[in-house]
Symmetry: C2
Subunit: 468 residues, 2 copies
Amino acid sequence: MKRATTSTIDEASWLRLDRAPGETLRAALGRTIREAIHEGSLRPGVRLPSSRGLAAELGVSRGVTSDVYAQLSAQGYIVVGDRSAPVVADVEVAGATGRVAAGVQPKPPEIDLSTWAPDTTLFPTRDWLNAVTRTLRGLPSRSLDYGDPRGEAALRVTLSGHLGRTRGVIADPERIVIVQGARQATDILFRILARRGERRIATEDPSQTIPRDQMRVYGIEPIGCPIDDHGVAVPAGLEAAALIVTPAHQFPTGVVMSGERRREVLAWARRRDGYVIEDDYDAEFRYDREPVRAIQGLDPERVAYIGTVAKTFAPAFRIGWLAVPEALADEAASTKRLMDSCSPRVDQLALARMMESGDWDRHIRRARAVYRARRDRVTEALARHLPGLEVSGVTAGLHVTLRFPPGVDDQAVAASARALGVEVLPLSNFAVEPAATGGLLIGYGHTHVSAIDRAVRRVARAVAANTG
Amino acid sequence: MKRATTSTIDEASWLRLDRAPGETLRAALGRTIREAIHEGSLRPGVRLPSSRGLAAELGVSRGVTSDVYAQLSAQGYIVVGDRSAPVVADVEVAGATGRVAAGVQPKPPEIDLSTWAPDTTLFPTRDWLNAVTRTLRGLPSRSLDYGDPRGEAALRVTLSGHLGRTRGVIADPERIVIVQGARQATDILFRILARRGERRIATEDPSQTIPRDQMRVYGIEPIGCPIDDHGVAVPAGLEAAALIVTPAHQFPTGVVMSGERRREVLAWARRRDGYVIEDDYDAEFRYDREPVRAIQGLDPERVAYIGTVAKTFAPAFRIGWLAVPEALADEAASTKRLMDSCSPRVDQLALARMMESGDWDRHIRRARAVYRARRDRVTEALARHLPGLEVSGVTAGLHVTLRFPPGVDDQAVAASARALGVEVLPLSNFAVEPAATGGLLIGYGHTHVSAIDRAVRRVARAVAANTG
């Protein structure tokens, strides 16, 4: 290992391949370098080893490393000169197109532990391109016209089977509406309930803020229901048209809803003649035991079930699904029709094809292995650097939640972490009612395994700076 | 010309190629046969000539005809046996996937003169696939994450230039929001205006019904403003937050808004401190003279401009754009964000690429030539079979409007036409207030040029059955 200039990287410190099962060496190497560029451990201007040097370092053939460099260069991640070693490109600048890009996207933090999105470098570009190509080549021209507001029959049939097998969801294709992500699913449901004169909808506390903002558009008041270690507790005498829950991996605490709580939630819905809205937002990533099945399967006439490809595939495609009780099916379709006619059709057909081919399941297994490795690294790092604090939500999803004792201001800790180059979300961002205790969401969707220990060390410094 | 069996077609009567400029013979032949299958002049089970017979008939090489047959067979339009001549497939059955398809789509009429959609057989599959492939291959992984609610910067920059050149629209990329078609654009605007406490929005009478249904969701009352030969007339003392107009080709009458009316509409908006909502829904297809430019360019701070790819490209992609006045820009973006986060990103990038490459303009020119030929055939046929009736809207768009004298019930005429196998929409479907006179929309988006005369003849029979 030599350092030719101060801006040349130390190979040993950055290049840890977490090669997923079935992933080729080329793919893993390319992904690792892209990730390192995204999460900031390889900064613009840094000089990489030559393809020969990297090959020697890794003990692989030079063909592998030069192929990967050529691909990264084509993608704009690195700049390869005629004679000189490759240099990390300024990706923000490379991605800008004309007048608008500057100022649109905030500058990314050095290390991003915010939790919203999965690792898009895992996206199976080749499989997807293959599915899109086959779909377009064989497409009857009528499939380019306006479609069924509920979405493509092929995808709804495929999903009906897939959700039944993987999540225990009981939903005829007739009950499924393809939507533009979970956000449109809740927008549809709130609109329907508002039109029925409903003015209150309950939500877990803490929980995502977007649904609450969406409710208010329709004059609906959000009611918080507290989360404890067993999931949401339905308050006595709760009066609301629906209760939104995330049973598989509560957002943001990561708690798995207990069987008893599931029964209580459904009993409340039957008593009230209300609905449970189940956001199954990252149920596909469960690491240590069999996935907890969706609550929808326990009472399909009381539960509206929401799922998306945002975590499993990529948020950019905006594909989600809403499986509704019979009593809401017609209105869900007509509401979707009034909002935007139908979701884009070709991507739906390509997704159905990818699911039917097995490429989908293979992709999920591969991504799950990558995330499991990161999850393990996160829990190890937290145990090492923050041994005194409680951690929840480790069994599933793309984040764990660090809990603070009373008196620690999680906003202040997050601000300290940000000053240290680590973006991390405070738990109190998601509170409905101000909570006695705070915490941090440690998301690993965007964070390469090699950066995790360093990131958690900085979080520990931020915690130390704000306690006793 | 021989008829081998009663189900063998008479080649001379169906095969009229309206080959567009730049279209290959193979492409034109394939499209013509697909169109004939869609519009019903080639029905399921009909036996086609052999590839050798068709080649002889057309005076082309057999390679052309057998290639086209092979492609049609791969697409499910025809069934090619080992020795026998090809047979038209049952396309509805071929498109069905499992349990849901039956009953979802209504059986298509024999000839479809309804006006909503363009001819999807003109879709440039190869160009689009090329654009998607290049986009995905070079895609930085961050483009697979959640995006700017306003849409991709690359597409907004491209559109800003394109709309300026082709439509006279003055809109910075910062003012453009990419939406899921025109329907979502109006939904966004109505939501913003409702939140400002507005309770009335004016619309042309007659006009599309969907925006009126959308308004009512937000408690907004639609106010009709009558259309005459110069476009919409603003009633004295009109009190409304906005006026929705279709100046380039009024829907449904086809009237082009006069310069004086444009000035009146804008003067009203300034006086009221209201907005003009311009739906430029099929302005790209103008046949006889230079396109009338968008009213938005006359006063960008008073006009919210809406365009889509539904007519030019295909409705299935659900891509549209909304260019808003400065005063609405932030709220339009935040409303889009709350509805569905952002529109699907890869298709936006592919569209920008296609527009930049020139493939887009080439496609529009080609489609325009096909539609112009149909428009000519429609006006000829109406002059021949219904010489006494007024026709409006012939200069642009994908339909013309046939006007009835007082006393003719257009619903009854449409029902008679339907009984004769022709689907055609009565003008009164679009009335805000009941009108003294009715008419029919004669749409040619879905109708092959060879079927037009036959269709209009049947419409004339339907008119005759309901007059004097």
